[in-house]
């Protein structure tokens, strides 16, 4: 079953890549140039080396697009992002979605605290993270990739949701999940996800 699934996935992915790359070659150059402004904070190849700034590599296409749309609309507020995305076009947003989603996602380092991860895994089960973010925590469609994300950024995101500073997309909001989480749980689950392989 598993084997069948992965060969299907690989087949679909390689087809998708074939469909994308030649047709988008010209666009890719243009979008690469535009994405240069992103790499200052979000890192080369979409992998952030900066505290509290998320990695974007391998995030689902729709998730990237939604966040840009939210920043542009002002429904997600951030002083650094606001001026950058204010004048961004719908076409740019689609291209950024395709660009970052095709990058290789960050690879988690060796887990420095497996005991904390064990606690985090229990939190993830209890809060049913996988039912939207998928079992591999790679995210899907409008739902973010969590696996390998920067640990302190995951903490920040959860605290923002809990405090009502950040609202999720759609109507089933992360705010409602995070509302019930203790600081201890946030710390543990963030660690678990940051080192998830």
């Amino acid at each position: 079953m598993r084997r069948q699934f992965s060969s299907y996935a690989i087949g679909a992915l390689s087809l998708a890549v074939l469909a994308f790359v030649p047709a988008n070659a010209a666009d890719n150059a243009a979008i690469k140039e535009k994405a240069a402004v992103c790499s200052g904070c979000h890192g080369e190849n979409g992998i952030s080396q900066t505290e509290n700034i998320p990695s974007l590599a391998g995030q689902p296409d729709q998730f990237i697009q939604w966040q840009l749309v939210f920043f542009r609309a002002g429904s997600r507020k951030n002083d650094q992002m606001q001026p950058i995305v204010e004048e961004i076009t719908n076409e740019d947003i689609r291209n950024f979605g395709a660009y970052f989603s095709q990058m290789t996602p960050p690879k988690a380092a060796e887990d420095s605290d497996p005991d904390l991860s064990k606690k985090g895994a229990q939190v993830a089960v209890g809060r049913r993270c996988a039912s939207c973010h998928t079992d591999s925590f790679a995210g899907t469609k409008a739902v973010a990739r969590l696996a390998g994300q920067r640990e302190e950024y995951l903490v920040k995101a959860l605290r923002d949701y809990k405090a009502g500073v950040r609202v999720g997309g759609g109507v089933a909001a992360m705010a409602d999940v995070a509302y019930h989480m203790s600081d201890e749980e946030i710390t543990a689950v963030s660690h678990y996800l940051a080192y998830f392989k």
Binding site: M1, F5, Y8, A9, A12, L13, L15, A16, A19, F20, A23, N24, D27, D61, Q62, Q65, W66, L68, V69, F70, A73, G74, S75, K77, N90, E91, I93, R94, G97, A98, R128, A130, S131, T134, D135, S136, T140, K141, A142, V167, G169, G170, V171, A172, A173, M174, D176, V177, Y179, H180
Partner: protein
Amino acid sequence: MTSMFHRSVLALAAVALLAGTSVVNAQQQDKNRALKKYESGTKEFWTHPPDDWFLGDETEAQKGLAPPSGPPTGASEAELATMMKKIKLPPGFKIEVYAPGVLAARQMAWGSKGTLFVGSFGLGNVYAIKDNNGKKEVKTILKGLNMPTGLAVKDGALYVIAVDKLIRYDDIENKLDNPGEGKVVYDDMPSYAAHGWKYIAVDKDGWFFLPFGPPFNVGIPPTSVSQIRRVDPKTGNAEIWALGVRNSVGGDVDPRTGKFWFTENARDWISDDLPSDKLNMINKIGEHFGYPYCHQGNLPDDKFAMGHKCSEFTPPVLNLGAHVAPLGMKFYTGDQFPAEYKNNILIAEHGSWNRHKYQGARIMRVIVGPDGKNAKQEVFASGWLEGDQGYLGRPNDIILAKDGSILVADDWAGAIYRISYSKK
């Protein structure tokens, strides 16, 4: 131009393939997940609605059904052009794009100088669309509001309803560049986001009908919701006009009688074909429409009927079908359409999510007299749904234009359409 078109087709194909993998992924993961149990009969349940408030006690067969997420930047102009060719209408009618790039477009309202105002869903935007010699200019005039789905214009002021605040922006058409902060004129409303988004329907006295949905699928609702209120925007006075209403997302005042009619989305998770969504009419103040005890006028709820009989409640004017999601509705009062359309009701159906084979995503025509008896419906405009679950667009509101044509808002494609009629 051609190459751009090809590119987007290829990109779409790639997205479709990727979407295919995630469906497989979701199905795999669903196998490992226990069936959801949903205890909505307690007060604790709604004091802070849970993250998956829209779920219910699923059956094995229903696992994995969830509201779909649309394209974040809507449909491109090329995609819209292709889409328009697929829409089916009765003979003599024509559909065209009125304005593209109106992301998450919801309720519409006209200003007296011809500005079309449009609310939005989670984006928090309110748009103003001006006609510059046939070219439509879409301007975002308000940002960062909490689900400003509903709006109305009255005495030169724009009223926006953002979940728990009714906000007035005076002299709006002269202040499109700077509408200001606005003034909150009514806020006696719960802040639940779940089913907390609202529309505004203005009656002959200038009072507003506002819906209050329960913050969950089915349960014993807090006493402040599951009702329709009638609110005076001048004074903030309010009365409870109807009870036992689940999620109403559209309504209109009957031009013949002044009575308020509204659409209502029924509970989920019974089955693909039950219960039916409804069209209702309020005959007198305080009528109870059955939720959560009785659905579709004849189906007592297994768990929440609690001894009530359906005969205790006001039955629907018409059962519209299961999971069709009727949202905005309008009486057709114009002169452009054929005479038999006069005072018919046009309903924008948003379409299903809690059904294996989606239905809806079309505009229905309801033919009914002022007494609400012997109503019947037929499809007016369709073609926004392909295959079992493939939305091209999702109509959600209708407004009449001065010339008797109608405009349709689509929050999936992020566009406004115009449907007009001319004799051959």
